[in-house]
Symmetry: C2
Subunit: 260 residues, 2 copies
């Protein structure tokens, strides 16, 4: 039997912070027919709230060192105000959204990252996604909307990278669906030259990825994002794109397609 | 066909603020077999966060005047940190909890309260509970955990009284279930004499309710709580109790039973 298609889309902080861009994206997302899942980040809002509360924010390689106090801020921001505003906006657009952390219905189980060189605090690495529960929601006509908070099954919430959550959720669904994973951000795709927004690399396969990494064209935050893309492809996710938010309604705009 | 039983339990701020009491309650709640729903408040945490953020909290007759800024605080607190900690703790106790606002899966639709003598701001009155969606979750083996945030279906989240949300959810389920509604708080029940914690009124029917209200025995915060109880009974909720949290595991302790 031919598998049904599902879209797994991830939106990052730059869209979330820009109210107009977010509302426009959510209208487009709501219009997409068929099964779909949304994952969102929200790092900047958490940093702003931390600052207002006089709580120190410490980042190492773009990852938040998550103390107990930082975790509360992350949960308030991601699972609270960002997630619920997105859900309410999707409902307005007749998309039956359901906001989730990984703890809800035990959908994403993680483990606290072990301390090696850095103690990241309450940061979790995904160990299992419960695809049957996600599918159960979809069968009820629901669109799951995930923030990047997970749990360890022992009562502890954990801060988790949103790109990784998206990759793992996409990978978990491959037995049930033909899965498209779409990392949506403010640029048009992966850039050959970071100072030239038009220098979009349209296709990246494993070989090219290795070359681009070696030459330093892909660096910093783009490195883990691409790693998440290739992890998804290795786990049989069918298509992976990195593109601008507007790609969701216009497949003809330039973007980056990843392949093995 | 005999209807299945369902428990609709509501816990208030005093249990939520006391970590030990909350953990103990959730252990007991998790152990209860069969369909169940939890609704929680959390007013004190929102007030504390507002104070840390230098946002003014204004209450009239125990109701929060909810500005846009207060609403964000309410959503961060109720839907964010309180709801997700309860969900993670229930998951630890093998109860497959799913945290919800009324916006999630459009479960509780409300309307912004019209300004009469007081402008309550972003406060919502429940107009519809989607019992079929709640039942859909229960059929998936899920225990819904509601915070008292709802939405208007037009993108606006609304702060709603948790006792009322509990009453309306209980009432929505009467066609599908034999519904027990349990308002759980720090006292043993409704008191004859507010200064004597042992003066529990064990039975209150409509007639007694009228007398107790008239004589001033029932006043302040207990008035709307009892009104929610009677609203539920008028809408055919089968049993309604006001009792201490420990009533959930020990039905022999003194408590207040409401009837028409």
């Amino acid at each position: 039997m031919k598998k049904r298609k599902i879209l797994v889309a991830k939106i990052g902080g730059n869209i979330i912070e820009d109210k107009k861009a977010l509302v426009s994206f959510l209208e487009d997302f709501a219009r997409i027919e068929g099964p779909k899942v949304l994952i969102h980040g929200g790092g900047k809002s958490a940093t702003q709230l931390a600052s207002r509360l006089d709580v120190k924010t410490e980042m190492i390689d773009g990852r938040r060192i998550t103390s107990a106090e930082n975790l509360d801020i992350v949960v308030m921001t991601y699972a609270g105000v960002i997630n619920k505003k997105i859900v309410a906006e999707l409902q307005k657009n007749n998309c039956n959204a359901l906001g989730l952390t990984g703890a809800d219905a035990n959908v994403v189980l993680a483990e606290k990252r072990a301390v090696q060189f850095v103690d990241y605090g309450y940061v979790g690495d995904v160990i299992q996604v419960n695809a049957e529960v996600i599918n159960g929601f979809i069968e009820l006509g629901i669109t799951p909307v995930f923030c990047a908070v997970t749990h360890d099954g022992n009562g502890q919430l954990l801060n988790t990278n949103a790109d990784t959550v998206a990759s793992e959720i996409a990978a978990s669904l491959v037995n049930l669906y033909n899965v498209s994973l779409f990392y949506c951000f403010e640029l048009q795709g992966v850039l050959e030259n970071i100072n030239d927004k038009n220098s979009i690399i349209e296709y990246i396969d494993s070989e090219k990825y290795a070359k681009l990494t070696e030459s330093g064209v892909i660096a910093d935050g783009m490195l883990p994002k691409l790693q998440n893309c290739f992890d998804a492809l290795h786990k049989n996710v069918n298509t992976v794109h990195i593109a601008n938010a507007s790609f969701i309604k216009d497949k003809n705009i330039k973007h980056t397609t990843l392949s093995l």
